[in-house]
Symmetry: C2
């Protein structure tokens, strides 16, 4: 089970029944957790081969080259696998400093504070300026 | 839809069909990603109420008070929700400095290096000494 398309290291990942694996993207340097997404085999192989993050969009049901519209590409520094071999951790350099589609640095901008979710991160760029139709 | 058992903030989370939400645990201070797990409503409420991480074990199909056997409790510093409101990020103080059941600091000890997964973190404590039957 080793071929250029399906290298051995890809088989070590424990894929879900849908052929996906959860992925955490963490910013190289700051250590901030940027976002959470999913990959299928093709996305992971493309990520490893190109050095830029490619995810699987479950809502659009297709490969999602992160930054394809926004330019906010993620340059991959490290790819890690957890103890159960069913979760990936990517360390990335976030081009543009914006990982979230809301125009914020990262997706985890809502903090639980005395029973309320409080937004504590600024919008760095208007999404209308990021995504052009 | 507000009661002591089911406070309003709990309803903001977009639970999966199984009533779960993925959770990333990050170490307060170091910023290292420790582990990935799941919570149901009860686990999240207990986590918020007690200030220590409680997950939902999908393999054992029951609440998992992290550290109940090992003593490696996670003291919760922050609870964050992402832009799609379907992923949680916890910032925690990891008691004992060991989050992984293998006796390592964290679960992401396998790094992809030239087509191979390489373990680059030491076992800090023998799991046999951590888990007593």
């Amino acid at each position: 089970m080793n071929s250029p398309d399906q290298p051995a290291w890809l088989h070590k990942v424990q894929w879900t029944a849908e052929g996906l694996v959860p992925v955490i993207a963490q910013e190289y340097g700051s250590g901030k957790v940027l976002m959470f997404a999913w990959m299928n085999r093709e996305a992971l192989k493309l990520t490893a081969d190109t050095g830029t993050a490619v995810y699987w969009s479950r809502s659009r049901n297709k490969l999602w080259h992160k930054g394809e519209e926004s330019g906010h590409v993620q340059k991959v520094h490290e790819i890690r696998l957890d103890c159960d071999e069913d979760v990936l951790l990517l360390t990335v350099e976030q081009v543009g400093g914006i990982a979230c589609h809301t125009g914020r640095h990262n997706c985890f901008f809502q903090k639980l504070n005395q029973g309320e979710w409080v937004t504590d991160q600024p919008v760095l760029k208007d999404p209308k300026e990021i995504y052009h139709e």
